[in-house]
């Protein structure tokens, strides 16, 4: 069992690093680290004992990797070879750095090679240099990757911020132009190289690749194959070629997942992590690469502030916009854009996805701290199959970066190899990264920490009161992590928000407003705020549309002069509710339908069942942890409190609808899953416990895979009878709202030169054809008044320009975003005759029409 703490530490302080569990690619095997003297070796030993079930010595080779057979380092001949190889590598790297410098500074576009080289120069090389140091003190490979990448991202954001602050007074007006960014990249790489010389650790990764078994190579290649299939599938859809390749990509992903699950016992952590990365990346690219322009919801505004920074060569700190306050979508993409030399949209659509695909890997590594490999893998499947991950995350780039820091924080908090000071410092650093990346993620992060701290304090006080401290906790291997989230850590994180969101960017006011509104809504629930803890009534889409129509007519009537068309004119045109149609049944769906399977109901039930099951599993999972002392011993109380706190924060979103309107409960749940996904899986196993241990696990595996197949869109796609998803179709709600066609770009370009378009002269359906592409031309124009009004007939102004997108022209269907109702979307049939009879049709290219 675990070693006692305190004075008995010295008994185990001679535990050596290679006593840790060995695994394959990148798990830290052979990591030559000077012995760290401190109170962590006991925890390290505990980690080993906790993570690797005791087995007879002769059994180990069957599960260990071939890597264990490599010769021990230290041979003089080998040392010389390594030295020669190191020089060769250094020379090669230096040459590549020079090439990256030249390409970035000249702006020369070298197809594929140039962007890859630029990305390697600014992110991969610095991360690799950090990765191969002793900085991370014996952490496993994937964890070191996480720390290194997030550290580099933070350095890039902070470095960019410093340049943005100090260079203009020195006469450099554009501190984020290629020259300063490239010089910064060089300084960063050289600094890390020098740092690495002092604290170098050897990682024989080439040997590890050579030692891969054919079955492991096949698994990695299968995972890797998903990525090009995802890219080609998205391209094919963009060209109107159909969903065949995208479906092949999904099939490949599902096969890879099944192989991962089937062979998980024999796979090393490194192989598993690499495969998870490829799966995660493929899923992201299937959505992010849809369309040839910026596709998605928040990414429109993100791209706007990115372009604002890039076009001016500096971050405009005076523009107090919540989006502009996120350095992850202003300074960071600008720096990347300077060195990769591709169309700016691909910085978000491709390079950010390369980074964010690490998130499931880091979460998996975190979950492995307290869950078995199978449970952690199932948690990954739930995490990447969650609709928000599939459909939304590629549109929320600031949150993608913030999630990486949340994962780094989770890894740091639970890192029993680090002393408490390190953990707290890492948590604080990660909190800075979260805050600089995305304000809302930070609020949720802090809320989680505060609730977890309060929960821990309450439990501690109760125990003191009842004087029933569990002796077992003294033996808890994770007890050492318990003190990480203390009052000091929480206050330090809050101070980051106050300094950055409050003082520096003045964007934290929205949080205060939201909290105030939430309190008001909680105490005075109304029809406009349909959800509350005590009133679960929700308005139907028809009621929401009626309310919107009434409000629009009131606004029309109260407007002075002849700004709008008369109500007598407007009311002649009806706007009936028009629900998004389901996809038609496929051949397979028809076949099932003929034998009596209600396909549409099946799809709906599976989706709704998945959502309800996940809620049930989470509840059962926590109940199991509360009841089962054995499970509690595997997880530190602190982690359990944080997981519970994260779910509590999600629950707040269902109670207070204004939070959902601003952020969405699904995004909150995606963040909460980083902490609590294994609890969900534990719940899914526990629910079927009466069927026996083995059967319950198998059922849980089946349910997780089934949920993935359904929520990913694969099942509805091969059956039909459900709403179309953007990653597999050229139709559906997201396609109609966010997909931008070349004709729309042409129309917007034509309109940009016309007088009176902004600030309030443009009306367009909600979506990418709004004014975002030309919302600003100079810093003087940047303001929050550059809104685009809706095209609801009662709100059409006589003198405004009205832009109708391809989707509305093809379907006659327009959408409304009801912010007061938890951000609900409703669709209605648009009365085209209203515009035809009352405005001039001044532009028409077959795909877009503009009225004046």
């Amino acid at each position: 069992m675990a070693e006692p703490r305190g004075k008995h530490r010295s008994r185990v302080s001679n535990v050596r690093y290679h006593d840790r569990p060995q695994s394959d690619l990148g798990d830290g095997g052979g990591y030559q680290l000077p012995r760290y003297e401190g109170g962590q070796n006991d925890a390290r030993l505990n980690y080993r004992r906790q993570s690797v079930p005791a087995r007879p010595p002769h059994a180990r080779p069957q599960r260990a990797s071939m890597l264990d057979q490599r010769p021990a380092p230290g041979n003089a001949q080998e040392g010389l070879e390594i030295s020669g190889r190191a020089w060769l590598a250094t020379g090669g790297a230096a040459s590549l750095v020079i090439a990256a410098n030249v390409l970035a500074l000249t702006g020369f576009r070298l197809l594929y090679v140039g962007p890859a080289l630029g990305f390697w120069f600014l992110l991969v090389l610095p991360a690799y240099l950090l990765y191969t140091t002793t900085t991370w003190r014996g952490s496993p490979g994937a964890e070191r990757v996480g720390y290194s990448v997030t550290a580099v991202i933070l350095l890039l954001m902070l470095g960019g911020l410093v340049m943005n602050t100090i260079l203009p007074p020195l006469g450099i007006a554009r501190p984020l132009d290629p020259v300063p960014v490239v010089i910064f990249g060089d300084v960063l790489n050289v600094s890390l190289y020098v740092f690495r010389l002092r604290r170098r650790a050897e990682f024989p990764w080439l040997d590890r690749i050579r030692a891969l078994k054919p079955s492991e190579t096949r698994l990695i290649l299968t995972g890797l194959l998903c990525v090009p299939l995802a890219v080609l599938g998205a391209n094919r859809l963009n060209n109107g070629g159909g969903d065949q390749v995208a479906l092949m990509a999904f099939a490949c992903i599902i096969v890879t997942i099944l192989v991962l699950l089937g062979r998980h016992r024999s796979l090393g952590e490194g192989i598993t992590s690499v495969t998870i990365y490829f799966i995660s990346l493929a899923i992201l690219l299937m959505t992010s690469l849809r369309g040839w322009y910026v596709t998605g919801h928040d990414i429109q505004s993100e791209y706007r502030v990115f372009q604002l920074t890039e076009s001016h060569g500096r971050w405009i700190s005076g523009f107090h916009s919540a989006y502009n306050a996120c350095l992850s979508i202003t300074i960071l993409p600008t720096e990347i854009a300077r060195v990769v030399n591709v169309d700016s949209v691909y910085v978000f659509r491709f390079f950010f996805q390369l980074l964010f695909a690490l998130c499931p890997v880091l979460a998996y590594t975190f979950w492995r701290r307290y869950a078995s490999k199978l449970v952690a893998l199932l948690a990954v499947i739930i995490f990447v199959g969650f609709p928000t991950y599939l459909n939304d995350m590629p549109s929320i780039n600031r949150q993608e970066i913030a999630f990486l820091f949340v994962c780094a924080a989770a890894l740091a908090v639970s890192n029993s190899r680090w002393p408490q000071t390190w953990r707290r410092l890492a948590l604080f650093t990660a909190a800075i990264g979260v805050e600089l990346s995305h304000y809302s993620t930070m609020y949720l992060f802090i809320g989680t920490l505060v609730v977890a701290w309060a929960l821990g304090t309450l439990v501690m006080l109760r125990r003191r009161w009842s004087a029933r401290r569990e002796r077992a906790d003294e033996h808890n291997p994770w007890t050492i992590a318990r003190r990480t989230v203390g009052l000091g850590s929480v206050l330090a994180a809050i101070s980051v928000v106050l300094l950055w969101g409050g003082l520096a960017t003045q964007t934290a006011g929205a949080l205060v407003t939201d909290v105030h509104d939430a309190v008001v809504q909680f105490s005075h629930p109304s029809a406009a705020t349909p959800y509350s803890l005590f009133s679960r009534t929700t308005l139907s889409p028809q009621q929401l549309l009626d309310n919107y129509r009434s409000a629009a007519l009131r606004q029309n009537a109260s407007s002075p002069g002849h700004e709008y068309f008369p109500i007598s004119t407007v009311t002649r045109y009806s706007t009936p509710l028009d629900l998004e149609p389901n996809m038609p049944l496929t051949g397979f769906g028809h076949a099932l339908s003929r034998i009596g399977v209600p396909v549409t109901a099946l799809n709906t039930d599976v989706r709704q069942g998945a959502a309800k099951d996940e809620q049930l599993f989470i509840a059962v999972g926590f109940a199991v942890f509360v009841i089962s002392r054995r499970l509690r011993r595997r997880v530190s109380h602190e982690l359990l409190y944080i997981a519970a706190a994260s779910i509590f924060m999600v629950a707040l979103f269902t109670v207070f609808p204004n939070f959902s309107a601003d952020y969405s409960a699904e995004r909150a749940l995606q963040e909460a899953l980083i902490w609590a996904a294994p609890v969900l899986i534990a719940g899914s196993i526990a629910v079927f416990w009466p069927f026996g241990n083995r059967a319950s696990v198998r059922i849980a595996v089946g349910i997780s895979v089934a949920i993935f197949i359904s929520t990913s869109g694969f099942l509805p796609q091969i059956l039909g009878g459900y709403g179309a998803q953007l990653n597999l179709n050229d139709s559906g709600v997201d396609y109609e709202l966010y997909y931008m066609h070349p004709q729309e770009v042409a129309a917007v370009t034509w309109l940009a030169g016309k007088p009176g378009v902004l600030p309030a002269g443009l009306q367009a359906p909600m979506g990418p054809t709004t004014s975002d592409p030309f919302a600003f031309n100079s810093p003087a124009n940047v303001s929050e008044t550059q809104s685009v009004a809706d095209i609801y007939p009662a709100l059409i102004k006589r003198s405004s320009w009205v832009l109708l997108s391809s989707a509305i022209l093809q379907t006659d269907r327009a959408s409304l975003y009801i912010a007061d109702s938890a951000g609900q979307l409703i669709a209605y049939r648009y009365p085209m005759a209203f515009l035809e009879n009352n405005k001039n049709l001044v532009y028409n290219n077959g795909g877009t029409e503009i009225y004046r």
């Binding site: 080779p61 069957q62 054919p214 080609l232 070349p742 042409a746 001039n840 532009y843 004046r852």
Partner: protein
Amino acid sequence: MPTRISDRSTEHAQDRRWWPVVAPLAFMAIAASLILPAGRHQWALSLFRQPTYYTSLSFDSAWSLPASATRGAPLSFSFSVGNHEGRAVTYRYLISEGPAGKGQTVGQSTKIVAAGATWTVSTTVPATCTGSPCRVQVSLPGHPEMIDFLVTLTAKRAGHG
């Protein structure tokens, strides 16, 4: 670790049995698909961005189109036809007045427009509608694009002199 080495050798041996068959088959399938034009097109759909072809039709001074006129008086305006069809196209425009589809043609012309070029037309037509407001429509027969504007017509005043 003899067991592991043995396992590995076995796996390599299995691979050696399969790859010589699978690899040439895959290569031949890809080669065959590239030989056929339809196959090449399918590859192109997945690999490269395909151009979107369209025609644009717009009023040049869309913000200052005539809003009112005297019946029978000349109406001056200009419009542009943009050829984004990827090839030269012979465009013919019709200007009509009156209800959509039932208007009276008051002007027309034909021109070959090169790919990527724009044909700008400045024209003056008489306001001949019987009703008011009068819809003045520009259409391109053979193409779905059309544009229009509404003019409120007033009766011609009698002269004072």
